[in-house]
């Protein structure tokens, strides 16, 4: 575009601003005319719009070319399109009316077969994405992200565009619904795509931690494969938004990752650039290690490293070292490691770089405790006098807070605060002296001392107004406590204080007037001088002062025996205990940032307090179904008689279509809708009393189970087979336990992310039963085979798996049976049963089910041969052993059966009763003889 080059050269050639403006005005006039005349070809439009952009970049206001830019976007030529998009992203802001006009062109480009057109469109949305665009186009962007045919560079951009749209208009993006699909992209072989998606997930997971919880496992897995530094940092950050995982496998893997990163930094680095990247990863790793456990050996290693960094020659490293150490100080219980470097840190307050000084200040604030508070506060006070103006206000607040928090003696507190007031008066907010007054008023021992000290400060020729205020207040209230000591007589107090009055602003003078009226009450000897002051103030111009003076004058002039004055000047009662206004102030100063990692980095004020982290997905009892499942047992029994599947919670019986909000609740927890179907229930029921078998099967995969249990622990091997001739990618397995405190289940290792065609993998689940539980854990297997799919099924891990049979003689049995007695420690139900082909009770099956549930079948106890009696003990790790007795009485004529469970724990009784009944009960709807079990 020669015209453009010439234009730029002309402008550069302009010697003075006027000439430049002249040239630009001429050009704009020309362009305006050309545009008005119309009939321009694409090249000319492009040229003129480019000139308009250049003019805009120079800082001139432009009012032409918007429409032409919109036209250029729909051009079929890339060169014109590109300039059009550039103009849109530069000239228009997100509320511009012109954006309405481009939505359709952008959609067209999003759906274009040419990827570079997709990219231009994505870029435009990311830059100016308006509400309207978000609503109209987020689906298309999402499609580009997940489509298997998208090029990597398109998907990368789509991920970030989606993120940008989400940030601006979160309500438009169905974040929970898309969760699993988006997370599955973390397994993508292209690191650029993974990086972009990790950014997206980082944002989404902060708002929907449970829906994205599987990302935790993915991140750990990915980190294990040593990705590029940028991705490492992203993943390490992602892990910090979740509370530390209880999964021992993940814990171990994570430890290894962090250890490796920390070891790596001991190697000499190749160059500065590499060094930067390495340090960036290291600092993030340290942050994560601190997040996981502030007192672990890893953190000790980190402390040693940090100590080296804060005395590094490189300023950047010193800066980040101090920053990270402040984080460490805020989170660890053991400050010793940091305290050994106190000297270095204090020296950093005198670093030549203000950025470093700020960090040192933050760190000193974080690491302060009872032992070193006097030293640190002393240092800070000394530094305050030479500190940069920008730093002072914050320093004053911090010093005031530390002084109050760690004051070992009142004397020290008063001394320090008053020194602070006199040293940095201008930077002291009102809150600081309010707080002093509050504390002195509430602490009787302090009052006389405070009065004396403040008096001494006031004697110095120049004292700051804040100090005068404190002085006025304290001497007014407590001046009489020291009035009898030499040098503190009422008249001296008055002279010292009043000498300051003339330099003060009206509000301070008003406060002093109040002080004087208090003195009229306690120091009658100086009443004439005080009344004199009131009299003079009765004629000042300031209305407030005048009114006050008049009132006080009238009060002071009342006769001696009048008690009015005394009542008015009654000593102030202590303030109700309240939170320090200072901390509020500091918090307000650094209002919460978007960064939701538990320690807000940007805060600059790392409070030493337990951090608020997102609650664990596994332990949350979501409002929805908690009451339903833990609710009253009778209701459950009633519904069990109705033939409902109860062992799998109400979640399992929701039909997918009828309860959309139910699936939303599941999605919120990161669990896809449970797979349903008669076969699935049948397989599950059978596995309740058998150790191995099929759990799930469809045309693509098969899931089988083998299990063995010993006491309260068990090992369940899950076999997943790929039945297709194509590999399953982004293969992920996850477990969800809804009663985390009662049952833990975790994989020994993370599954590989790809399952080759016609192969099978084995994943071992480690199970421990701590207490009685009702809900079997959910296994989620997800993969991409064409589209992303997820299968969620309950694992047949139920309380009877931890039941071990015991042999009892008839006497023992009956003694225990009677000892336990009836309800609530007895659970009983009557349910229909199916007869076998010959019309008899299927005794073999009855025995199989009872024995399969772990009961020892006791012979010769019940006289009726078709009745079964059994006994067993449930092993739990926390609640210990629970005895459990069973009696099963099938009745051929009525086609009914009665099961009675007595247990020392009522929870066990009801739960076992349901479990035993479940495989035996006939499906009332199915013809009896067709049932195959």
């Amino acid at each position: 575009m020669r015209g453009l080059t010439q234009f730029i050269a002309d402008i550069r050639g302009a010697r003075v601003r006027e000439l430049e403006e002249k040239r630009i005005n001429k050009e704009m006039a020309n362009i305006r005319k050309r545009f008005k005349d119309g009939n321009l070809d694409g090249y000319q439009k492009k040229k003129y719009v480019a000139k308009v952009i250049f003019t805009y970049i120079l800082g001139y206001k432009v009012d032409v070319g918007h429409m032409e830019a919109v036209n250029l976007i729909s051009s079929s030529k890339y060169s014109e399109k590109q300039i059009g998009y550039l103009a849109v992203t530069l000239l228009m802001h997100e509320n511009s009316d012109f954006l309405r006009l481009v939505v359709n062109s952008i959609r067209k480009d999003l759906n274009d077969n040419n990827e570079i057109h997709n990219c231009l469109a994505l870029h435009a949305i990311a830059n100016v994405g308006s509400q309207e665009m978000a609503e109209a186009l987020s689906e298309d962007v999402h499609r580009l992200l997940i489509s298997p045919t998208s090029e990597n560079f398109v998907r990368k951009k789509a991920a970030l565009t989606l993120l940008r749209l989400y940030r601006k208009h979160p309500e438009v993006i169905p974040a929970q619904e898309w969760a699993l699909r988006i997370v599955s992209i973390m397994d993508d072989p292209d690191l650029g795509v993974v990086l972009s998606v990790a950014s997206l997930i980082l944002a989404l997971a902060q708002d929907h931690p449970e829906a994205y919880s599987i990302a935790y496992q993915k991140a750990v897995d990915r980190l294990n494969r040593v990705p590029i530094p940028w991705l490492q940092i992203k993943l390490l950050r992602l892990l910090q938004i979740y509370p530390p995982s209880d999964d021992p496998t993940l814990q171990v893997m994570l430890q290894e990752v962090l250890q490796t990163i920390m070891n790596n930094c001991n190697e000499p680095s190749r160059n500065v650039q590499h060094n930067n990247a390495q340090h960036a990863v290291l600092f993030e790793a340290i942050n994560l290690a601190i997040h996981l456990d502030g007192n672990s050996p890893l953190v000790n290693t980190a402390a040693v490293l940090l100590a080296r960094f804060i005395s590094s020659k490189e300023t950047n490293v010193r800066y980040l070292g101090l920053d990270t150490m402040a984080h460490l100080a805020a989170r660890t219980d053991n400050l010793e490691a940091i305290k050994t470097h106190q000297g270095t840190i204090i020296l950093s307050l005198r670093d030549k770089d203000i950025s470093v000084r700020r960090r040192a200040l933050d760190l000193l604030y974080s690491m302060c405790d009872v032992d070193n508070s006097e030293l640190i506060v002393g240092e800070l006070l000394r530094y305050l006098k030479v500190a940069d103006y920008g730093l002072r206000e914050e320093m004053v607040l911090k010093i005031a807070i530390l002084t109050e928090k760690y004051a070992s003696t009142y004397k020290w507190y008063v001394d320090t605060i008053l020194e602070l007031l006199s040293a940095a008066g201008d930077h002291v907010g009102e809150e600081v002296w309010y707080r002093v007054v509050q504390i002195v008023t509430n602490t009787e021992d302090l009052q006389a001392y405070a009065a004396k000290v403040v008096f001494e400060y006031l004697k110095s020729p120049s004292s700051h107004e804040s100090l005068v205020k404190v002085g006025g207040y304290i001497l007014g209230e407590y001046g009489h406590l020291i009035a009898n000591e030499p040098g503190y007589s009422p008249i001296e107090q008055f002279q010292v204080l009043h000498a300051k009055s003339q330099f003060c602003m009206a509000p301070t003078r008003a406060l002093l007037l109040s002080t004087y009226i208090k003195w009229v009450n306690v120091f009658p000897e100086i009443k004439p001088q005080l009344v004199n002051v009131f009299e003079r103030y009765r004629h000042v111009l300031d209305v407030d002062l005048q009114q006050r003076a008049c009132e006080f004058y009238a009060l002071a002039m009342r006769p001696e025996e009048d008690e009015m004055l005394q009542n008015v000047c009654e000593e102030i009662p202590p303030f109700p205990p309240r939170e320090s206004a200072l901390i509020n102030r500091l918090n307000k100063k650094h209002a919460d940032s978007e960064d939701k990692r538990p320690w807000a980095h940007s805060n600059g004020t790392l409070e030493r307090q337990p951090s608020k982290v997102i609650r664990k997905p596994g332990t949350i009892d979501t409002n929805g179904h908690g009451s339903n499942s833990n609710g009253d047992i009778s209701q459950e029994i009633a519904s069990s008689l109705a033939g409902l599947d109860l062992t799998s919670s109400p979640l399992a019986i929701q039909s997918p279509s009828s309860l959309p909000d139910g699936s939303a609740a599941l999605a919120a927890k990161g669990i896809p809708r449970l797979s349903a179907g008669p076969n699935i229930d049948r397989w599950f029921d059978k596995l309740l009393y058998t150790p191995e078998g099929v759990l799930y099967e469809d045309v693509q995969i098969q899931i089988g189970i083998k299990s063995k249990y010993q006491g309260p622990v068990g090992q369940v091997a899950v076999y997943v087979g790929n039945k297709m001739s194509a590999p399953l990618t982004s293969f992920t397995t996850a477990l969800h336990t809804e009663e985390g405190e009662a049952l833990t289940a975790s994989f020994i290792k993370i599954a590989p992310s790809m399952l080759a065609p016609r192969t099978q993998i084995q994943q071992i689940v480690q199970v421990e039963c701590k207490k009685v539980f009702r809900k079997p854990p959910i296994l989620v297997v997800s993969f991409i085979a064409g589209a992303h799919q997820a299968i969620a099924v309950r694992l047949p891990i139920v309380i009877t798996k931890f039941l071990e049979g015991v042999k009892l003689g008839p006497a023992d049995f009956f003694e225990r049976w009677k000892l336990i007695g009836g309800p609530p420690r007895e659970a009983q139900s009557i349910f229909p049963i199916a007869l076998d082909a010959t019309g008899h009770i299927d005794l073999a099956k009855q025995r199989q089910v009872v024995a399969g549930h772990g009961f020892q079948i006791l012979e010769g106890i019940d006289p009726n041969p078709s009745n079964l009696v059994g006994a067993g003990i449930v092993h739990t790790a926390v609640d210990g052993k629970v005895g459990c007795l069973l009696r099963l009485e099938p009745n051929r004529e009525a086609k009914l059966s009665r099961v009675t469970i007595r247990s020392t724990s009522e929870d066990v009784a009801s739960e076992v009763q349901k479990l035993v009944q479940k495989p035996l009960a006939a499906d009332p709807s199915a013809p009896a003889d067709k049932r195959t079990l």
Binding site: I8, G59, I116, A126, F153, L195, S199, N316, D595
Partner: protein, 208 residues
């Protein structure tokens, strides 16, 4: 990263000289709305950055800038300035805390390397005469304030791809034209600057 609020390579006409000369921005891009005029903001940032001695760290807390960049919803996000000086240019990013500081520093280097490879020894004039191209390259590194790509080769490939597409579309529209429509590598001889890019090789370019 969330909202690299802006990035502006600034130039001081004389290397660490004449503090009173305000920097002329060569490339600015705002990823979030700004409250005041861009001009004053740029001046403010320039004065912050140019007053710092060499050898100090590349990071700067910038409470002064908050009035300019206050997001409308008023969350008190703390901003940090990350800058780096290359010859006559300062590359300045004003960022929130979504990326680590060292990461941003690395990103600046990535951007500069990409510019350098696209323009074959980039100099300040390239940013002036091929501002569109510079923006396109930036778009391959940062999209909507978020880090898009950190691999120089990938960025390079994307830039070349776009240049090729531009050339093709240009050639198809103007079959008789000899020159390509693309900017890359087509600097006119009169504007050719012999000056190299990286520190030490460049002595300074006229103010405008």
């Amino acid at each position: 990263m969330r909202f690299i609020s802006l990035m502006l390579p600034l130039t001081s006409p004389f290397f660490y000289d004449a503090v009173n000369t305000s920097g002329v921005p060569r490339l600015t891009k705002f990823y979030s709305p700004i409250a005041h005029s861009a001009q004053t903001l740029v001046e403010k940032i320039f004065s912050l950055v140019s007053s710092r001695q060499p050898g100090l760290c590349n990071f700067l807390d910038a409470p002064e800038l908050e009035t300019f960049l206050k997001p409308k919803d008023g969350d008190g996000e703390k901003l940090r300035v990350v800058y780096r000086n290359y010859a006559t240019l300062y590359f300045v990013f004003v960022v929130d805390h979504a990326e680590s500081e060292l990461g941003i520093l690395d990103l600046i280097q990535v951007f500069v390397e990409s510019l350098d490879s696209a323009f074959e020894n980039v100099c300040e004039l390239d940013l002036v005469f091929h501002f569109d191209e510079a923006h396109h390259i930036l778009a391959e590194v940062i999209q909507g304030g978020l880090v898009l790509e950190t691999n120089v080769n990938e960025i390079d490939r994307a830039v070349q791809e776009a240049a090729r597409a531009r050339k093709e579309s240009y050639a198809s529209a103007n079959p008789l034209s000899l020159g390509g429509g693309g900017a890359v590598g087509s600097r006119s001889a009169g504007l050719q600057s012999p000056l190299g890019w990286l520190a030490g090789r460049l002595t300074g370019v006229g103010a405008r």
